[in-house]
């Protein structure tokens, strides 16, 4: 379970006269349960990536608390990180290493021994349907192949909690389907707690048990897709999201234009 309460983070850009304070996250809170896929839905610049980076222990929040499996990220970041598998926005692989070496390297960094890391790489390759890629250097991989390798790398230590930041970015239909299947498998068979951020409604509708709508650095709504539809009185989830994120006026304007 991941519990986030009252999270806030601001960035200071420039200095002196050109100094600007950017409040990326002002008040974000949600609870992501085990064996459940929680979608962090919000427009670009809503603060999703910043929130997930704070959960992953990369950024220190200005205010608020984050607990991963009951571990406070602020005070015990390394223990929390050990339970997290993060597919971040940056999915850089080492081009001169093979996919297998990329995955095993992270396994070793997470403290697995060589044999276990190798076994996990093979197992994940089976699950993600990428066994044929394993012994190729990642130089020249397609977006889908990169995503699979990066996901396998994030999962190599068999984390109980999985965070994915816009995982379907740049993927084609087949790769997106493959990813969706993999996430369902992780939820149903392995009872993982999965949080992923996206700005794509269809992803959320198809996959998420729980939706957290984030806009302007705040959590504006939380619930399952049917619950949110009922709350806004909409039948279309896109209209529902626009109303929640930008207010009723925006929802009407958008609907009228369409």
């Amino acid at each position: 379970m991941i519990e986030v309460r009252g999270l806030a983070k601001q960035f200071v850009q420039g200095s002196g006269r050109s100094r600007r304070v950017l409040a990326a996250v002002q008040s974000v809170g949600f609870v992501a349960a085990d064996a459940c896929i929680t979608g962090l839905l919000g427009p670009n610049g809503a603060g999703k990536t910043t929130t997930l980076r704070m959960v992953a222990g990369l950024l220190v929040p200005d205010a608020g608390t984050i607990e991963v499996a009951g571990i406070d990220v602020a005070t015990r970041p390394q223990q929390a990180q050990a339970r997290l598998g993060v597919l971040s926005d940056a999915r850089g692989l080492y081009p001169r290493l093979t996919a297998r070496e990329n995955i095993v390297y992270y396994g070793r960094l997470h403290g697995l021994d060589e044999g276990t890391a190798q076994a996990r790489a093979a197992q994940l390759a089976g699950m993600l349907d990428m066994a044929a890629l394993l012994d190729r250097r990642t130089e020249g991989f397609s977006q889908g192949e990169r995503m699979k390798t990066a996901l396998a790398r994030a999962l190599v230590h068999d984390p109980s909690h999985i965070i994915l930041d816009e995982p379907t970015n740049g993927l084609d239909v087949l790769a997106t389907r493959g990813l969706r299947e993999a996430l369902r498998h992780l939820r149903d068979e392995q009872r993982k707690c999965i949080v992923f951020s996206t700005h794509i409604m269809q992803e959320v509708e198809r996959l998420c048990d729980q939706v957290v709508v984030v806009a302007g650095g705040r959590t504006v709504a939380e619930g399952s897709v049917p619950e949110l539809l009922a709350r806004t009185g909409q039948t279309d989830f896109e209209a529902c999201f626009v109303q929640l994120a930008f207010g009723e006026a925006a929802a009407r304007a958008g609907g009228g234009a369409a």
Binding site: R53, A56, G57, L58, L59, P77, Q78, Q79, Q81, A82, R83, L84, V86, S88, D89, A90, R91, G92, L93, Y94, P95, R96, L97, E101, Y105, Y106, R108, L109, H110, G111, L112, A150, R153, A154, H157, D158
Partner: protein, 402 residues
């Protein structure tokens, strides 16, 4: 599941194990970059032999000139007495090539030409001080060097003639020689060779710098540019462990080049054409090991310094531009020794790179130096490396996110 450190020592062990994993991976990564590696290693392997051959050609040329004792004279038929003197001094007289004036100016002819006027012998007999003309070109350094020797030869001739005249008039010749000047050269043969080999430490140093450069940029700015730094920091590791692992790999690359280039001087010696230089340039196993003792700590420092500069850069390209400052600073160091007027200063040993160059020159010149001289640059390198690494560790998280 990940290892859960439950004590300070277990945490330390885990950090060490992680640093080792990072080190292994970075080294493997760097060694797979075959094209860069090939360039760096080839140039450092070739460094020793090429430099030595170039030096030996230069020295052999100087030696040949010194041994040849040739003087190019136009109109020697007008001066039998002078010819007699020159030949008694065991010099040979050559006629100048017809186009010697333009050849001297073009620097394709490296000898001054002595012009003897027609009435030389008659004027000499009459005591009329005949005029000799020595044609040279001050932009032609080979001719200039030889002109000194010819001038001295002519002075010898003048002095002999003067002495003869005094003796004939019954005056002892040493009446005119008020002071006698003798020269004593304090430089031993190795110190003289040092003049020629002064460039070697500089080239070795630059090879080490270039050896570490690519790996240093790849593990910092390159990692940022690829977007692999952020995932790396998601691993439950102390940042220090990551930095130390990376630094170890970069330093090893620099050290590899140091070892290769130092040992390339050993077989390079067989190629020496000049007997004198071969005798003077004594670079054996002891010298190679001393060089390495100096270069290895410096390679570690340069690795840390390059990483500290590059970690602030968003891309490989930007990092290359920024590290130019480091390359420039290191390559300007030898200027201190080239232009120094007051000789070697104590503070030279406190400045990294300059200290190593100074001490490597001492090794080449065969001067003794104690363990203290070796320890000071080592301690400075260790302290500065630690500073740079602490800085990289501090910058690492900010670098991953920006």
């Amino acid at each position: 599941m990940a290892k859960q450190p439950n004590g300070a020592s277990a945490g330390g062990r885990a950090a060490l194990a992680a640093a080792w994993q990072v080190f292994r991976k970075e080294l493997r990564d760097a060694l797979r970059d075959r094209r860069t590696l090939l360039m760096v290693v080839l140039s450092s392997v070739a460094l020793g032999p090429v430099l030595l051959v170039a030096l030996s050609v230069l020295v052999a040329d100087l030696e040949a000139r010194a041994e040849a004792r040739e003087v190019f004279v136009a109109g020697i038929e007008h001066a039998p007495t002078l010819r007699n003197f020159i030949e008694r001094q065991a010099w040979t007289i050559q006629p100048p090539p017809p186009d010697y004036e333009s050849a001297l100016a073009r620097r394709s002819f490296g000898h001054p030409v002595l012009m003897v006027p027609e009435g030389f012998e008659r004027d000499l007999a009459d005591g009329l001080a005949p005029k000799l003309l020595l044609v040279t070109a001050s932009a032609n350094s080979r001719a200039e060097a030889a002109a000194g020797a010819v001038t001295r030869l002519m002075q010898g001739f003048a002095q002999e003639q003067a002495s003869l005249r005094l003796v004939m008039r019954g005056v002892p010749p040493n009446l005119l020689q008020v002071v006698q000047v003798n020269e004593q050269d304090l430089a031993n043969p190795q110190a003289r060779a040092g003049q020629f080999t002064r460039l070697l430490p500089f080239f070795v140093l630059m090879a080490v710098l270039y050896g570490a450069l690519h790996a240093a940029l790849d593990t910092t700015a390159g990692e940022r540019e690829r977007g692999s730094l952020e995932p790396l920091l998601m691993a439950p590791l102390p940042r220090g462990a990551i930095v130390v692992g990376k630094w170890g790999a970069v330093a090893v690359m620099g050290m590899l080049v140091a070892v290769v280039s130092c040992f390339s001087f050993l077989p390079g010696q067989w190629l020496l054409r000049s007997e004198t230089l071969a005798a003077m340039f004594q670079f054996g196993l002891r010298e190679a090991l001393l060089f390495l003792a100096l270069l290895l700590p410096l390679a570690a420092l340069l690795a840390a310094l390059l990483m500290a500069v590059a970690i602030r850069c968003r891309s490989f390209k930007e990092a290359q531009a920024n590290t130019t400052a480091v390359l420039l600073a290191v390559s300007l160091m030898p200027m201190f020794t080239a232009f120094n007027q007051g000789g070697e200063q104590p503070w030279h040993l406190w400045l990294p790179a300059l200290a190593q160059i100074t001490l490597m020159q001492r090794v080449l010149e065969g001067e003794a130096f104690g363990a203290a001289d070796l320890l000071l640059p080592m301690a400075v390198a260790a302290a500065l490396s630690a500073l740079c690494l602490a800085y990289v560790a501090r910058q690492l998280r900010a670098a991953a996110l920006r």
